[in-house]
Symmetry: C2
Subunit: 391 residues, 2 copies
């Protein structure tokens, strides 16, 4: 199994890209990578996407995108795991390179949601849940998360305002990210006054439907150019949980997040205290709280105790959503997992300006599909220049 | 990179499974494998499927199926490349095991097409083609293949009846396969008289929409039990071509099939003459002819010269569709690539009864997505018992 590095990144702004076709959107971050590296094709392309089959009437995204960017010799496939599709495409690309099947692999995430009426997208997002036992009962995906948040508040005694800090921090960081869709700061009052989506989840608890695409280029470490710092994947793990919330032994514990994080820590030989920044899956503030608990950053039931910009800001102890997170940067679902990786890489190279986490050496990303049903955790590390065998 | 073996297989009959949910269908071949091997979970599950997102309003199939079969600790993801989704799921599972990320991986293919009106499925199959430049011009997926067949007949001078042998052979073999959906023999007259789907493609040129699921269990060779014959993957390759037919330099040459087959031959250290049986992608007789040419079994433009049961029957020189192929066994699109592997394994173990290819040692499968836009070629080999290090 070969050690794998992230050689280059690309991203589009997260926005309403009504002026771009699905192909133009998906191609943009790949062509950025081609331009920056001088390469014109790769061995493999893995496309993370959830819902183009229904929202854009286009499947077969692997060949479709490979064709568009001129990588006609690449093998190319579409990988889907609901909102963690980006994370799963990244992990598939990693396995292609680590196994030796590919020497160059691109993982690209793309989603184009705002062309469709939002009621339609709401129905499509519900395909992440159980069609027979959840969706057909009339519950939407945000409703499932609202049930979870209500229960959490009941059991652990937290109030609505205790979650505000997550959203305030995300928006404070997103304000400095030119690629953020909702790049403006918010006040505690704005959080409390924002309209409900599905009580107790209000607009400021929820990441917005968006269009966007991001990509990374993976290569084996031994093919890197000597004399430069490089980012490697020190841990990669995936785990699943039941699809339906009511099937869980403990609804308030994301056991797949726990298993996935523990395995990633084991591979990297570290623990949560060693993580310099954590790009968590803040699709909803409740999921962010549960992810922090399951990943070992805080005790069970204590997630909201971290919801303080002094703790989770770029200069805090557990920096979160450092470029705005899903909440402020935006959540084009199948692309989100790749945006997280892209932002972690920028942090490790010290390129995040006002949002820079000082001296960041180790970053963690966690991408969650469904209500914690599919979790991808990755740990990235910046390495000092090395001389490689082939140089 | 570890050598990988196929330890066990499972399959449902290909049929109209109106009495089974998507989950029951997908779970069946996995539970067969669990029962036969005595295991109750695996490290990873890769689900090959094309269109459940729109046809069954269910995505997130990885976690959904893992949950259902009780493999709650597995990582699980859905892999899609149109009609080659099964082949791409198989290759993803192979990379997971060869890279060391998984010690046990299941590739399961599933498709449930007959619940939906066929006009709807026709529209969904067209998502394999280019939404902006093919589908939106009003061309269906079968129409694209009909254009291809018409052009091929024009250029090379073949007549409609010259393709009959492919279909007759497939049905002759399918008649002995209890899992075949159209398991009855047909005559040359029946072929010629069958109603047109899209001229020159008639019903007997085209594989039928179907429901079905098949699965295989992959393990590293070093974990096998000594003293038994075992099947390994000697070659695995994927390649893409343009999505749209009109973008190709040569519309009558499946260049992705050529590149994918050549790379698989190179890995296995063999050529087409060494292949004992070939499970080709006979979704349409024209695609079968082009696949035979691109894979080196016959000269360019001469595909139909092989369409003779004496040549392509189980006792012939190039056995094709040995258990009925897509035509007679049926074509549940995302499952087809796995059915091909399952049938190749049965041949290599000598379990195909009346359809057995005598002394089969090396089998090839080729799974094609779109109009030759995405091609997965696998070469399987039966090995004599070996003693492994860990025994």
């Amino acid at each position: 199994m070969r050690e794998v590095a992230i050689l280059e990144i690309g991203q589009t702004p997260v926005s309403e890209h009504w002026d771009k076709s699905l192909l133009e959107l998906a191609g943009e971050p790949i062509l950025q990578i081609f331009e920056k590296t001088g390469i014109s094709t790769v061995d493999s392309i893995f496309v993370g996407n959830m819902m183009t089959g229904s929202a854009n009437h286009q499947l077969h995204l692997g060949a479709y995108i490979a064709d568009w960017v001129g990588a006609g010799n690449a093998s190319a496939v579409h990988v889907e795991s609901a909102c963690s599709s980006g994370g799963s495409a990244f992990r598939a690309a990693l396995m292609a390179v680590s196994s030796g099947e590919a020497d160059t692999a691109i993982a690209v995430g793309v989603e184009k949601m705002t062309d469709s009426p939002s009621a339609e997208i709401t129905a499509e997002l519900a395909t992440a849940a159980d069609a027979d036992y959840e969706r057909d009962m009339g519950v939407s995906f945000v409703a499932l998360n609202a049930l979870l948040m209500r229960r959490y508040m009941e059991v652990y005694g937290w109030k609505k305002e205790d979650f505000a800090g997550f959203s305030i921090n995300a928006h404070a960081n997103g304000a400095h990210n030119p690629n953020a869709r909702f790049g403006f700061p918010i006040t505690p009052e704005a959080y409390m006054k924002s309209p409900p989506v599905c009580d107790p989840i209000n607009v400021m608890d929820a990441a917005g439907m968006s269009d966007g695409a991001a990509a990374v280029l993976l290569v084996p470490v031994e093919k890197l150019i000597k004399g430069k710092k490089f980012v490697t994947i020190a841990g990669s793990a995936a785990a699943t949980d039941t699809i339906a919330l009511q099937d869980r032994r403990d609804m308030l514990w994301l056991s797949a997040a726990e298993r996935s994080a523990k395995e990633a820590y084991r591979q990297a030989g570290i623990g949560p205290a060693d993580i310099d920044l954590f790009e968590a899956h803040d699709a909803f503030t409740i999921i962010e709280a549960l992810s922090l608990e399951a990943s070992g950053f805080v005790e069970r039931g204590q997630g909201p105790s971290l919801a303080d910009p002094a703790i989770i800001g770029p200069k805090g102890k557990v920096p979160l959503a450092t470029m705005g997170g899903l909440k402020s940067r935006g959540h084009p679902v199948g692309a989100t997992g790749i945006y997280q990786i892209v932002e972690a890489v920028l942090q490790l190279y010290g390129l995040c300006g006002e949002n820079q986490v000082p001296g960041a050496k180790i970053a963690m990303t966690q991408n969650i599909g469904g209500s914690g049903s599919n979790v991808y955790t990755h740990i990235l590390k910046i390495n000092e220049p090395r001389t490689f065998q082939n140089n």
